[in-house]
Amino acid sequence: MPQMDARRWVDATPRVSGQPLEQLPLDLYIPADALAIWLEQFEGPLDLLLYLIRKHNIDILEIPVARVTEQYLEYLALMKSMAIELAAEYLLMAAWLAEIKSRMLLPPEPRNDDEEEPLDPRAELVERLLEYERTTRAAGRLDKQPRRGRDWFDLSIEPPDRLPAPAVPSDLTGLIAAMQGLMREGIVRRAHHVRAEALSIRQRMTDILDALFDRTSCELAEVFRPEEGRMGVAVTTVAVLELSRTHALDWSQESPFGPVTLFRLAKKATDPVAEEEMPR
């Protein structure tokens, strides 16, 4: 039986030189609080009952209900006299024990299926006591499990967020060799990113025509979106070229490197996509 807690192993009988002390010396003063603390340690009626059963080495399957009830009520009276506030569960258990006791006196109720033995009125109590005993042992097992924050503490050295720059080869030949190595690496490990088309040329053509919807000209810079980067530039350029090919617009540039102006040619902006199949 794994040791649960010290209390279960405390023999309630005081001993002097190994001999049980049956009668307390009259002048011995036991502080009332000490007994109260001991009594308060019970986790409830099941715990108290289990203690009584184990203390008297009673077979849990053959509980002498009358005797145990008597002792249980004695402890309850003791607790009351100590002014320990008794939880309602204790009284409920007392009532249950009394009920079992009286059932034991009655002839067993006949059961519908007369194959099995008549139901023992103690069966449910025994089951609950055994279940509770397993719970206390499971709790004891859990308490023995090495626990972080009690039995051990994590050590943690935080690694630096940014790894230090690798050491640069100090001489030129080493540097060149390293560069060559990287070049070779670059050839071998060329990455191919296959991505879905992020920007649509058709959409861009429509956008440009929208910009020219209520006016005849606009600056090329207006239809560029710098946040799109090189891909955006390419898509917008192709869109402008396509629109000029279909004679939807034309462009002019006043001076070299000067701003480019787009002109609407079609009377009304139409959706070029519907009219002609566009390259992607």
Binding site: M1, E43, P45, L46, R134, Q145, P146, D154
Partner: protein, 202 residues
């Protein structure tokens, strides 16, 4: 039983391996043990160090790390058995706890019997409702205890049970396993095994 033991106990075995780990490996293994918060298995160490390192070389390195820390009063390399795997971790031992408590008096009070029994029922019997805990223990559950267990991050709600009143179902967390050095709930012994030897076998 997952008793804590120090691999330094087996330090004398290193000569049988015959393979002296290079000092660089010992230092690397030590650094990994210090920076990774979770206990490390040989496989985990191998994956970090590089596959070409033989496991027995890693094991020899672990023994060296254990020996290096052996004179330290508060830090040790512990080996534990978790889910059939042996794992290692450099930890501060319980010897530091009085000093940690002195620095922070509010720090983690010990678990009461009621809290341990409640936690045990939740761990072994999850999902379990508060009512079922109360039935098993024979007393009302102190809400303070459930709050304490939730605050430690060990217990969480698993939703509500489809029964009258829709009671909340409780279960344990990943942090519970980690704090109790468990890999999974299967590492806990079978609940029925806690029946006493003088009782009938269930």
């Amino acid at each position: 039983m997952t008793a804590m033991e120090s691999p330094a106990d087996h330090a004398d075995r290193s000569e049988h391996w015959g393979s002296e780990p290079p000092e660089g490996l010992v230092e690397l293994v030590e650094a990994l043990l210090l920076t990774v918060d979770e206990p490390l298995s040989l496989e985990a160490l191998g994956a970090m160090v590089g596959q070409e390192t033989a496991p027995d070389l890693l094991e020899a390195a672990l023994v060296h790390v254990a020996t290096r820390w052996e004179p330290h009063r508060f830090i040790e390399l512990t080996a534990r058995e978790v889910g059939g795997h042996r794992v290692w971790q450099l930890v501060a031992t319980a010897a530091v706890s009085p000093y940690l408590r002195a620095g922070d008096p509010g720090r983690v009070p010990r678990l009461s019997r009621a809290a341990l029994e409640t936690l045990a029922l939740i761990a072994w019997r999850q999902p379990i409702t508060r009512g079922e805990i109360e039935a098993a223990r024979g007393v009302a559950v102190n809400p303070q205890i459930l709050k304490q267990l939730a605050e430690r991050g060990w217990v969480r709600s698993l939703g509500v049970k489809d029964s009258p009143g829709r009671p909340e179902m409780l279960g344990t967390t990943r942090a519970f396993l980690s704090d109790f050095g468990l890999n999974s709930l299967a590492d806990l012994p079978d609940f029925e095994r806690f029946a006493g030897q003088d009782d009938i076998d269930v």
